[in-house]
Amino acid sequence: MTVPAEVLDQCLLNEPRGQEALYKAYSARMYGICLRYAGNRMEAEDILQEGFIKVFKNLSHLHSREALDAWIRRIMVNTAINYYTKQLKFQNEVSLKYDSSDATIQEDALSKLSYNELLRILQGLPTGYRTVFNLYVIDGYSHREIGEMLGIAENTSKSQLWRAKASMKKILRRIL
């Protein structure tokens, strides 16, 4: 997504008109990110507001205008992580023992679920599971990067992801 250069110039001059244009260009996409990381819609709204305030206050630190998309996205993700910092609890042991009374979850079964249902399953996960799942699966960070972002070991990130998916499967088996 690109926004006109004059919009960025106005934002750098702290002009509300430009700021509103930038918000309109990115708000839907960023709200989607916030909803994934948040436990509910109200918290997602809080994160969205806090994230955009950081964007406008720190826009002068943006080195390259081409990197605006990634920069805003990163700010939203970091804001979401910081929002839940106190709640983030990670269990370090990696248990690879599978709870395998499991039937496979087929893609066509998943496709029966609406966005809202998928989102509710994700939001229902413990904060640590949800954060790592989002970072790794959807936002494409590696376990090493996640470890650095959250201040945890790479293996802890892996175990959180595994636990997140195990929890999701349990929920999915119940509802499908």
């Binding site: 700021q19 918000y23 989607g32 994934r36 507001q49 206050k57 893609e107 998943l110 699966v137 499967k169």
Partner: protein, 190 residues
């Protein structure tokens, strides 16, 4: 692992490009966060505009006019509903006098001597000795009847207060509270 890939892939596909409509008031809150002073000014300006819009709206003229009429009616009704009339006849002996003047005095003293009195109204007494005062507030009053000069009545009777007193200091006070009283007055003979 088939399962692992299914959930990851499905969520990745589902939420890549996920762009739900943001909350309606979010921008306003962000604007307040980054421009707190302007937001405050904006609210004040909005209030001013609303007030100006209200006061200049022609659509409201009939409504305001109707409200003013209703208010005026209520005020008039309230004011008249708390007023009273005093009526009666003036007598010289057993006979009603023919013509004269009735005077109404407001009495401000609560007890005798009634020194603080004020003449409020005077009305003619008709040929049948009848008089009437209108629009009288609650309170204490004196009424005095003066017969028409040059008649037999003036020759035989003196101007008198209710009830058969020549001086206000001795007169009886008429109390006006909730009803319209009838006050017949008998003149004192000379």
């Amino acid at each position: 692992m088939q399962e692992k890939d299914t959930i990851e892939d499905y969520y990745r596909k589902a939420f890549t490009g996920f762009e739900p409509p943001p909350p309606e008031q979010a921008w306003e809150k962000i604007r307040v966060g980054i421009h707190p002073l302007e937001a405050k000014k904006g609210r004040l300006s909005g209030l001013r505009k609303n007030f100006a819009g209200f006061s200049h709206s022609r659509n409201l003229y009939p409504l305001l006019a109707a409200a003013a009429m209703v208010l005026l009616f209520i005020m008039i009704w309230f004011s008249y509903s708390h007023k009273h009339n005093i009526r009666g006849h003036a007598y010289a002996g057993e006979v009603r006098i023919c013509k004269g003047t009735a005077y109404l005095f407001k009495v401000y003293d609560k007890v005798k001597p009634y020194d603080t009195v004020l003449l409020l109204q005077s009305v003619p007494v008709d040929g049948n000795g009848y008089y009437q005062f209108n629009g009288i507030d609650h309170g204490n009053y004196f009424i005095r009847i003066n017969p028409l000069p040059g008649t037999d009545v003036t020759r035989n009777f003196i101007p008198s207060f209710y009830d058969q007193d020549a001086a206000s200091s001795e007169a009886n006070v008429i109390k006006i509270e909730s009803e319209d009283p009838t006050v017949d007055i008998h003149l004192l003979p000379k």
